[in-house]
Each structure stands twice: as structure tokens, then as C-alpha cells.
């Protein structure tokens, strides 16, 4: 187990190194000059040259990358080109909001996905099952931008149940968490349905029913816990999926997380911020996957980590 963990952590470090190299390289070859974004339109050529030199952007690619990497291992993510603030400060200020949103989305997708999946499994083959599965298909496919604006329009503008965007209280969290979670809930409902159907077919459920237990008791205490187990392991992988969704969702709802930060940085070629957010997201994805793998043997003792 320990050896496995160490091996996985080394792999994770290599993946992050690769991500940093590829991102840095792509930003380097991008036909857009960060110095011109900093210098603005009235800057004289010498101002531009000065800024380029001070930021070390006149150095060859490999030197720039090495500087970035040596800074990074010492915990220095650099300063934003345009804001001049430390990237670590900017990310630290926004990360809690993103984590809260993800947590909210996980809760939302589990509640929605598991409920729908169980109902569909019980009513398997019926009209309810089919309409639920079509709904889940739509949920998986719909663009988050559209879902977000739709929820915002109906529940915040028309019904005034929730505030229109913003941050700070539970009511602010509901709509963005639903928007981010709705795609996952589509997946979960489908997985929960098939997992539940498998379990309901198994011998111990038949035994439970045969010994005269009430239907609800069988479902709630015997079937559901076993059907949910394989799904728990999926949550770690969700983090990666969320990372791509937060940019859009945070933008629509004015949620002050790192997705917004990344989006603004990309517009202005603010390389240190883009690098920082990319690496933090990559960390989250790698750790999420690792977590998912580590949990699996506890859920299913037949699986061993080697």
C-alpha cells in the first residue's frame, strides 16, 4: 500500500511537470505578446523593450521555463503581469470559493442523481424510467452556460427565490451548485440505475424479500448502500470534470473563484496567472483521481492496490 502510494505520488509529480511544460510551451508559441498587453497602446518601443527585459521575456524559452520551475519548487508562482500581485495570493483568495462551489455541486449531483437513479431502477422499463433517462441525457448534453442562464432567469429573476448571482450566503450557492452539478447528476442517475438494477437482481435481495422484509426496508437498508458504493469512487474523478465547468459557471453567476481568474487572465495573456490556475487545477485532478483509486479497495475488498 505504501509503495503504491509513493509510486503514485511520483507519477503525479511527473504529470504536473509535464502539464507545466506543455502549458508554458503553448503560451510561449502563442502568437500574442504579453508585453504589449502590459505596455498598452501608447507605449514607446523602449518602454516595451524595458518591460520585456525586466520580465525576462527576452530570454530563450528553456531559460524562461527553468526560471519559472525553480521559482515554483520554492513556492513562488510569480507575480501577475497586469495586476502586479503575487499569483499565490490571488489564487489563495479565490480558491475557497471554488472549493465551496465544488462541494455544493457534489452534494447537488448526488442528491439529484441518486434519487433519480433509484426511482428509475424501481420503475424499470416504465414510462417514468424512460422519461427520467431522457431527462438525464439532456442534462448531460446541455451547455452549462444555457442551464445557468435558464436557472437564473426562472428562479432568481421571475420567482425571486434566490439572489441573482453573488457570493456569501447559502442562497447564493444553490443555483451555481445546481448548474455545475446537473451534468454530473445525469451521469449518476444512469450509473445508479444500472448499479441498482444489478443489486436488485442479486441473491441476497431475493433472500431479504423472501424472508418477508418490507419492500422499503429492503431498498433502503440492503440494496441502496451496496448500489451506492461504486459511485462514491467516481466523486474523485468529478473534480476533474468540474474544473472545466467552473470557468463558465463562475462567470455566469459572478462566483469569485479561480475559474473567473483564469478566464480574465487568458484574455490578457497574463501568463503567471494562467500557469498558476492550470497547475492548481491539474493538482486537483491528479489528487482527485488518486483519492478515487485509494478509496476503491475499501469499497470493494476484491480490488487490491499494487
Amino acid at each position: 500500500m505504501l509503495a503504491y502510494l509513493i509510486r503514485r505520488l511520483i507519477q503525479a509529480a511527473l504529470i504536473l511537470l509535464g502539464v507545466s511544460f506543455i502549458t508554458f510551451f503553448l503560451l510561449f508559441v502563442l502568437p500574442a505578446d504579453p508585453v504589449r498587453q502590459i505596455a498598452g497602446r501608447s507605449a514607446t518601443p523602449e518602454t516595451v523593450a524595458n518591460i520585456r527585459h525586466q520580465l525576462g521575456l527576452d530570454q530563450p524559452f528553456i531559460v524562461q521555463y527553468w526560471h519559472y520551475l525553480t521559482g515554483l519548487v520554492q513556492g513562488d508562482m510569480g507575480r501577475s503581469y497586469l495586476q502586479k500581485t503575487e499569483v499565490a495570493t490571488l489564487i489563495a483568495a479565490r480558491l475557497p470559493a471554488t472549493l465551496l462551489l465544488m462541494l455544493g455541486a457534489i452534494v447537488a449531483e448526488l442528491i439529484m442523481g441518486l434519487t433519480l437513479g433509484i426511482v428509475a431502477a424501481i420503475r424499470r422499463g416504465g414510462a417514468l424510467d424512460q422519461s427520467l433517462m431522457i431527462t438525464s441525457f439532456v442534462a448531460v448534453s446541455a451547455p452549462q452556460f444555457v442551464i445557468g442562464l435558464l436557472l437564473l432567469y426562472v428562479f432568481a429573476v421571475k420567482l425571486s427565490w434566490f439572489p441573482i448571482g453573488g457570493y456569501g450566503s447559502f442562497s447564493n450557492l444553490v443555483l451555481p451548485a445546481l448548474t455545475l452539478g446537473i451534468m454530473g447528476s445525469g451521469w449518476y442517475s444512469r450509473m445508479m440505475r444500472s448499479s441498482m438494477i444489478d443489486v436488485l437482481r442479486s441473491d441476497y435481495i431475493r433472500t431479504a424479500r423472501a424472508k418477508g422484509l418490507r419492500r422499503f426496508r429492503v431498498l433502503a437498508l440492503h440494496a441502496m448502500p451496496n448500489a451506492i458504493l461504486p459511485i462514491i469512487a467516481m466523486i474523485g474523478i468529478d473534480i476533474g470534470i468540474f474544473m472545466s465547468g467552473i470557468v463558465v459557471v463562475e462567470s455566469v453567476f459572478g462566483w469569485p473563484g479561480i475559474g473567473q481568474l483564469a478566464w480574465q487572465a487568458i484574455q490578457r495573456v497574463d501568463i503567471p496567472i494562467i500557469m498558476g490556475v492550470t497547475l492548481v487545477s491539474a493538482c486537483a485532478i491528479v489528487l482527485g483521481n488518486l483519492l478515487a483509486d485509494l478509496i476503491t479497495p475499501f469499497i470493494d475488498p476484491r480490488i487490491k492496490l499494487r
Binding site: P31, G40, T47, Q54, Q83, A93, V252, Q260
Partner: protein, 546 residues
């Protein structure tokens, strides 16, 4: 040597600047209905990058910085008329190269210390030193000793002298008629050395100025709160107790919140998709203030690339574009343009009719120039709405005269890069990156975007047009510093732009209007909501009525 004395300087200068509104040449008259107090909420999509006046250079933080800091010069609210700011008066030497500013006494920074001439000198040294990385450093190029600052051989501007604690003398290396405008730019704001030293590069997040408001809270990614500076040196203003800037809000969400009464000014304006809906609703339309803007949207024709190296071809392009239709496409949010300068800019040539819209003649001219079957070319454009749609309209118009256009819609940074790379972009539609004047003076539309200095790698003269004769005329115009000869100077500038139109390196398309929406409780003259210098709103002078 006699000095032109200018106490409370505006009248002579503004009369000569030649704008209609200048005829009255009054400083701002306090609004009799204004009530002090209250808080307003302003929203933005993007977080504020910085409030450091030496660094901030986008239209979002520009007016915020104006409310936190002051410079020696300022503008009368709602106009393009200069007035003294931290300077109480100034004198200009006869040859126009020495400016002596007398400072107001008793002006205090937000940290309580009195502002003196040393601070003025420090601030100008700071903005011109390369370590600051100020995008505005180049504006100070006419101050004696600037070159030594730029190449790092000096740490202080030779031309700026502290005469006594309330007098600062600035010597220029050449006459510069725009110098007072330069001193009104945010980049020339006076900052206290001790605060800059304390916060270093984070000064932009902990600004300390002399302005009407001070920053009281900044929660990154969420909001900034400005609090009234009770000791502000201009008496009676600001009216508002505080301003909350909520960031991270999509324009469409901001509009919905405004309609619910939760927001007072959506800083990013009315989203294009909602524009007609808002303007068709009388209740909402009456809360929209419309004004001009020192902006021109244009197509650059790269004179170094075939076939735009032929002046006939460029003139033909000027005749082939249906500007009225493009203005219609953006819901009439602009006025068709026929020259580089916008109509509200001094030096605009009123009686110029421009090239007619005449596709038959354009076709004939192409044939005469040796392109009877037209040609193929590329049009670079920024990829955000409405720019690709405008590019399609241009594409259709040009297909009428046989020119086949391939549209390259890219992110802003990529278009800017292509424009500044030699022989890369034959045509660029400037929308989304277009020139908005830094200060209301005709020279500001020439140097970087039409002069030889900008026609370099990494420059902003995307038509790569370089006419040394015009450069000489421009220099000549800007050496006329005598306010009494202002008319002559503006005529020279008008001549420069008319010559530009003859050579036709641009197709001027339209001048954008500004539409500022506000909540029903916002008070203050309409001019404050379309202030040419403070976008979207002049925060120091607006107030709330409830």
C-alpha cells in the same frame, strides 16, 4: 522674458480649444439639487487589475483611479475642458518649454500627510523609471531628462525641479502643446513616497492618494468599497458616502439586477443582445444617457502589402463600404465616420464630406489600378460580438466590387500581434481594440496609429502608413504652445488628417456612442454619465436622490 500668467487658468486656454461648450468657460457649477450621502452599487465583469495610477490603463480602472488620485491638472466634470487640479495656478514661459506650477496648500493624502512639490517630483520620477513598468511612461517624453530615465542612466528627471514646497518647475526638451493634458492623465497623479515604499508592487491594491474617495475594502474577486474622503480639498464634493464596485458580474446579469433595483450603474453597459429591448421600453430608455465618445472604428489597409500599396485601391475601398448599414447592424449605437477624428474632438473638419458610398465608381477605380477582376485579401477582426458580424458586412460590401475577403476572427491579443507584425494583416477591423483618445487633443489620434513612430514592429500603426511630410507637420503643430494661436494649431491638425484621407490608409467606419444606464435614484447632470474622461460615470459629482 515675459510670462503668460494664468491664474485659475481655464478661460484663455479653453476659449482657444474651440469646442462649443468651451465658450462658456466656466468651472463646474455645483448642482443645487445635490444631496450628500448614500451608497451606490456599480458592477463589472472583470476584477479590477490595479489602482496604481502609474500602471492602470483600462477603461474600467481609469475613472476609479481618477476618484482616488489627483494630478496637477484636471477636467471640468462632464467636459473636455482643462482646469487646475492640485496646481492652483501655472505659468508657461514664452517659448513654451518651461511650466511653473503653484501647488494648493493644505492638500492631504489619505494617510494624513500634506502633499508638497517633493511628491510631485517623486511621482513623475516614479512613472518614468523603467522599473515601474508604466504603460504611460512615453507620454512624458517631452520632459527634459526623459531619455536618461528611459535608458536607466538617471534616477530622477533632470527637467523637474522643486523650487519650494509649493512650487514645482518642469522644463521640456521641446515645445509640447499637449503638455497640460499630459499632466491631467492618471499617469501624472501625485502619490506619497512612503506609501509606495511600504507596499512596493502591491501599491496598486493599497492605493493612497489625495482624491475624493479612498479605498476602504478590497475583497479580491468580489468587491471594492470606496469611502468618501471627508478632508477632500475640493469643498462640497464628493456627494456620495461610499461606492461599492461589485466585480465578476456578467453584463446580462448586471442588467437583470438593475431592473430589480439591486444595482445603480452597470459598468460594462447594456449588453448588445438586450439593447433594443431596453430602448423600446420607455421606463428603461429614460434612464439611459446617450453621449459621444472620443472613439473611431476603422479598417486599416496595409500600405506595405499588395494591392493596398496603390492609393487608388485604398480610395476605392473607402467608397465600397456601406457605413450606414454597419451602423444599423449595431442598433444605431454609432454615427458613420468620414475621417480619423471623432466629431467631438477639437480639430475635426466639419465641412469635409468624405468619400461617397459609390460601388460603381470603386469598381472602376480598381479596374484603372489594374484590378478589373478584383483580388483576394484577408480581414483580421476580434472575435467578440458584434465584430465578426461587422466583418461579414464588410466582406459582403467588398464582394460587390470583386474583392474576395477571407475573415480571420481571433482573440484580441492575436489581432494586436498580427497588426504589429510586418506584412501580415492586409486589413484589420479595429472594433474592440479601437482607438479611444487618452486625452481630448487631435495629436492623440496621430502619432502611434498614423505616424511613422507607430509603423514599426510591435507598433499600433496597423496600416504601416508613414508619411514623413505629415510627421513634420504634426511636430510643427504641436510646437505651437501659445494659447492665443490655438486656432492655427487646430487648423494644422485638420490639414494633417485631410492629407491622411487623401492617402487613404484607413477606411473610417463609425464613431461609437456611449450608452450609460443608471438606476432611477441616481441624480446629477446627464453630462456626468457620459463624461468624456471618466467612464462610465464621474463618481465625484453624481449623487442619489433617496
Amino acid at each position: 522674458m515675459s510670462l503668460m500668467k494664468n491664474i485659475l487658468a481655464t478661460s484663455a486656454l479653453s476659449l482657444s480649444l474651440g469646442l462649443a461648450s468651451f465658450a462658456s468657460a466656466q468651472d463646474y457649477q455645483p448642482d443645487p439639487n445635490a444631496k450628500p450621502g448614500g451608497n451606490i452599487i456599480v458592477t463589472y465583469k472583470d476584477d479590477v487589475a490595479t489602482l496604481d495610477p502609474a500602471i492602470g490603463y483600462d477603461w474600467q480602472n481609469w475613472s476609479m483611479i481618477k476618484s482616488v488620485f489627483d494630478g496637477l491638472m484636471d477636467y471640468v466634470p462632464g467636459t473636455t475642458e482643462l482646469r487646475p487640479g492640485l496646481a492652483e495656478s501655472y505659468e508657461i514661459s514664452d517659448d513654451g518649454t518651461t511650466f511653473t506650477f503653484k501647488l494648493r496648500k493644505g492638500v492631504k493624502f489619505h494617510n494624513g500627510r500634506e502633499m508638497t512639490a517633493e511628491d510631485v517630483k517623486y511621482s513623475l520620477d516614479r512613472v518614468t523609471t523603467p522599473a515601474t513598468q508604466s504603460p504611460g511612461a512615453g507620454f512624458f517624453g517631452s520632459i527634459k531628462g526623459y531619455d536618461a530615465m528611459a535608458d536607466g542612466s538617471a534616477t530622477s528627471l533632470e527637467g523637474v525641479t522643486v523650487v519650494d514646497p509649493y512650487t514645482v518647475k518642469i522644463e521640456l526638451s521641446r515645445p509640447d502643446a499637449t503638455f497640460l493634458h499630459v499632466m491631467a492623465l492618471n499617469f501624472a497623479s501625485v502619490v506619497p513616497k512612503e506609501a509606495v515604499d511600504e507596499y512596493g508592487t502591491d501599491f496598486g491594491k493599497h492605493p493612497v492618494g489625495t482624491g475624493a474617495f479612498k479605498l476602504s475594502d478590497w475583497t479580491i474577486g468580489q468587491q471594492l468599497v470606496f469611502e468618501k474622503n471627508a478632508d477632500y480639498w475640493r469643498s462640497g464634493v464628493p456627494y456620495l458616502d461610499s461606492i461599492t464596485f461589485e466585480v465578476g458580474q456578467e453584463p446580462i446579469v448586471a442588467l437583470l439586477r438593475l431592473q430589480q433595483g439591486e444595482v445603480d450603474v452597470p459598468g460594462d453597459g447594456i449588453p448588445p443582445a438586450k439593447f433594443n429591448e431596453v430602448m423600446d421600453n420607455p421606463d428603461e430608455a429614460k434612464r439611459v444617457v446617450v453621449g459621444g465618445q472620443l472613439h473611431t472604428g476603422y479598417i486599416t489597409l496595409n500600405v506595405q502589402m499588395e494591392p493596398f500599396d496603390k492609393v487608388e485601391v485604398r480610395q476605392a475601398m473607402n467608397m465600397a463600404i456601406n457605413k450606414d448599414r454597419i451602423v444599423q447592424m449595431i442598433n444605431g449605437r454609432a454615427t458613420p465616420a468620414n475621417q480619423p477624428l471623432p466629431p467631438s474632438m477639437p480639430g475635426y473638419t466639419k465641412d469635409y464630406e468624405g468619400y461617397p458610398f459609390d460601388q460603381e465608381k470603386a469598381k472602376q477605380m480598381l479596374a484603372d489600378a489594374g484590378y478589373p477582376d478584383g483580388f483576394e485579401t484577408e480581414l483580421y477582426v476580434m472575435n467578440t460580438d458584434p465584430n465578426p458580424r461587422i466583418a461579414q458586412a464588410i466582406q459582403q460590401d467588398l464582394s460587390q466590387i470583386g474583392v474576395k475577403v477571407d475573415i480571420k476572427a481571433l482573440a484580441q491579443a492575436n489581432v494586436i500581434e498580427a497588426g504589429g507584425t510586418p506584412k501580415t494583416a492586409p486589413m484589420i477591423w479595429s472594433g474592440g481594440m479601437a482607438w479611444i483618445a487618452d486625452f481630448p487633443d487631435p495629436s492623440n489620434f496621430y502619432g502611434p496609429i498614423l505616424g511613422c513612430a507607430g509603423a514599426v514592429e510591435g507598433g499600433w500603426n496597423w496600416s504601416w502608413y508613414c508619411n514623413e511630410e505629415l510627421d513634420a507637420m504634426a511636430t510643427e503643430a504641436d510646437s505651437i504652445t501659445d494659447p492665443a494661436k490655438q486656432e492655427e494649431r487646430l487648423q494644422k491638425w485638420s490639414d494633417v488628417y485631410m492629407k491622411v484621407m487623401e492617402d487613404a490608409p484607413w477606411v473610417p467606419v463609425f464613431n461609437e456612442n456611449r450608452y450609460t444606464m443608471k438606476s432611477g435614484r441616481m441624480g446629477g447632470a446627464d453630462a456626468l454619465y457620459v463624461d468624456p474622461v471618466s467612464i462610465p460615470v464621474n463618481y465625484d459629482y453624481v449623487y442619489v436622490t433617496e
